[in-house]
């Protein structure tokens, strides 16, 4: 029993290290993708709870938790996809500084794929292979979404700045 407890504690400590390392960037990426701090928090917590439950069975915990969190967030977005309008701003954006509101509002106008590609690649700094894996597309397809997303985001931000 003592050994089991030690193993569990060691596993939890390992997950906590991953949490301390990844959670801030991951949460911000989720928030940018979903436009909702609530969905970001839920997805992140879900992913880490699952990681904790898997103990040492996950080989690359950081990559796994990013994939899982975005999968959870994607599911929540699907659940909400036929929901009512939440207004012109993403959830809670009204509490944020104006440049950030502008950014998130522009992000929201990208297609989901474009938004996901830009967030993961250009903000999350994930390698292309990993982004493509999370998105479930080929690298060539990722490139298309990424270049379109950047161009669209650039145009939207320029329009706002103008």
């Amino acid at each position: 029993v003592a050994e089991d407890v030690a193993v569990v504690n060691d596993s939890a400590a390992r997950v906590e290290r991953v949490y301390r390392k990844e959670s801030a960037k991951l949460w911000r990426s989720l928030a940018a993708y979903t436009g909702s701090p609530d969905v970001a928090s839920d997805a992140l917590a879900d992913a880490f709870v699952q990681l904790l439950a898997r103990g040492d069975h996950v080989r690359d915990a950081s990559a796994w938790v990013w994939r899982t969190a975005f999968k959870v967030a994607g599911g929540e977005l699907k659940r909400r996809s036929h929901g009512a309008s939440t207004g012109t701003h993403p959830d809670g954006v009204y509490q944020m500084p104006e440049p950030l509101v502008d950014l998130l509002t522009a992000m929201r106008r990208l297609s989901p794929k474009q938004r996901l590609a830009v967030v993961l690649h250009d903000y999350g700094d994930l390698p292309s292979d990993e982004v493509a894996r999370i998105m479930g597309v080929r690298r060539a397809t990722l490139h298309v979404h990424l270049s379109q997303g950047r161009a669209r985001l650039r145009q939207l931000l320029e329009d706002q700045d103008g």
Binding site: R20, L44, G74, G83, V118, Y123, D129
Partner: protein, 374 residues
């Protein structure tokens, strides 16, 4: 691109909550309340077809031929001067008022989606000429897909009549759907959208899809020349166990902001690609899109005589080397390894063994490059 990264750095001002205590407790994280449903497409099977805008010829045909376009559900076969479909038994079709909604390569996918599943435009819905088609679903979702994409999948190049056969596929959102048909117009331009409604759909569902259809709006963008996808050079082909016929090509993608060059290998069902960026000639892409058998492919330094993939169980798979088009790539040669019928790259068969090693050897067995998939 740096300007985008700079703007994204603003996200660092967001203060994330510390949820570790809650996570460690293993408790269910608090669920945020979602918005009240705009429209529940509560019946399981609602099928959507996205087609797109017409070229001048098609537009004239629509104007003069008295097509069957109508807001009312139409049972049985649907036929216009450019389109024919036979929904499965019990299904009906809702057509919007026949009108042009944009420009682009016409691709239609009749898919079924379940309750709460989002509308998801797959990559094969991308017109090739780079024009936006706006799809507005209520006020919550406003997808403005930029329709710049690689050449259309060759399997979509001839019109297909819906015959009721149901084929499963996984869409870009990772949702399993039933593919009922896919086809496109005679001159490669998108004309209009249709929705197939399942037999158990109620009035509310039909109303919902009518609203959806009528939310399709012209973007006002003028067609862009297909110069956005500059060229595709097919330089090698063959037949192999496991995948049948394969074709290797170099494709140059370009848009207003970026240009890139990719090496592709495609079989009848799968495709893989790596970026041919200047720099290290040793590149690889692992895995595949959906299911085994899988392959690894990429480029190896010039002088490579063998490419070996060492997988679990001390097995070694030998790759096929393929010279790239002469002149452009003096520092590298293309290769691919697998898929081999009966050989599972991993125990699960869906990914490479994390311990797999890719080794490039020259003619005398000297190692030129190595990559560990771990």
């Amino acid at each position: 691109m740096d300007d985008i990264r700079d703007r994204l750095m603003l996200l660092d001002t967001l203060e994330p909550p510390d949820q570790w205590t809650q996570i460690e407790a293993g408790g269910e994280p608090p669920r945020s309340e979602g918005p009240s449903p705009w429209r529940r497409l509560a019946i399981a099977s609602v099928a959507l077809s996205i087609a797109g805008a017409a070229g001048l010829f098609l537009w004239r045909a629509m104007d003069t031929s008295g097509t069957t376009a109508t807001d009312d559900p139409v049972a049985g076969e649907v036929q216009t001067s450019w389109f024919r479909a036979q929904p499965p038994e019990g299904w009906s079709v809702v057509l919007p008022e026949g009108r042009r909604i944009g420009h682009g390569l016409m691709v239609a996918q009749f898919t079924s989606f379940e309750v709460d599943a989002p509308l998801c435009l797959g990559e094969s819905s991308f017109p090739a000429d780079g024009v936006l088609v706006r799809l507005t679903l209520g006020s919550e979702s406003n997808y403005e897909e930029s329709m710049v994409g690689p050449a259309l999948d060759s399997s979509l190049r001839s019109p297909t009549v819906v015959d009721g056969a149901v084929i499963g596929f996984v869409d870009d959102c990772g949702v399993e759907r039933k593919l009922l048909a896919k086809f496109f117009g005679p001159d490669g331009h998108v004309l209009m959208a249709h929705v197939l409604v399942g037999p158990s759909a109620g009035d509310g569902d039909v109303e919902a899809v009518e609203i959806l259809l009528n939310s399709l709006a012209p973007t006002g963008h003028e067609p862009i020349s297909t110069g956005l996808v500059d060229e595709q050079i097919r330089f090698a082909e063959g037949t192999a166990v496991g995948i049948g016929r394969w074709v290797m090509s170099v494709r140059r993608y370009a848009d207003e902001s970026e240009r890139s060059l990719w090496l592709h290998i495609e079989s009848a069902e799968h495709g893989w690609a790596v970026n041919l960026e200047p720099g290290d000639p040793f590149t690889w892409v692992m895995g595949g899109d959906w299911m085994p058998p899988q392959m690894v492919m990429g480029t190896a330094p010039t002088g490579a005589a063998r490419v070996l993939l060492e997988i679990e169980g001390r097995s070694t798979l030998e790759g096929t080397l393929v010279p790239l088009p002469a002149g452009e790539f003096p520092d590298r040669i293309a290769y691919w390894v697998g898929p081999f019928r009966g050989v599972e790259i991993t125990a699960e068969g869906s990914e490479f063994n994390p311990d797999a090693t890719l080794v490039v050897l020259d003619a005398i067995g000297q190692e030129l490059a190595r990559h560990e998939f771990s």
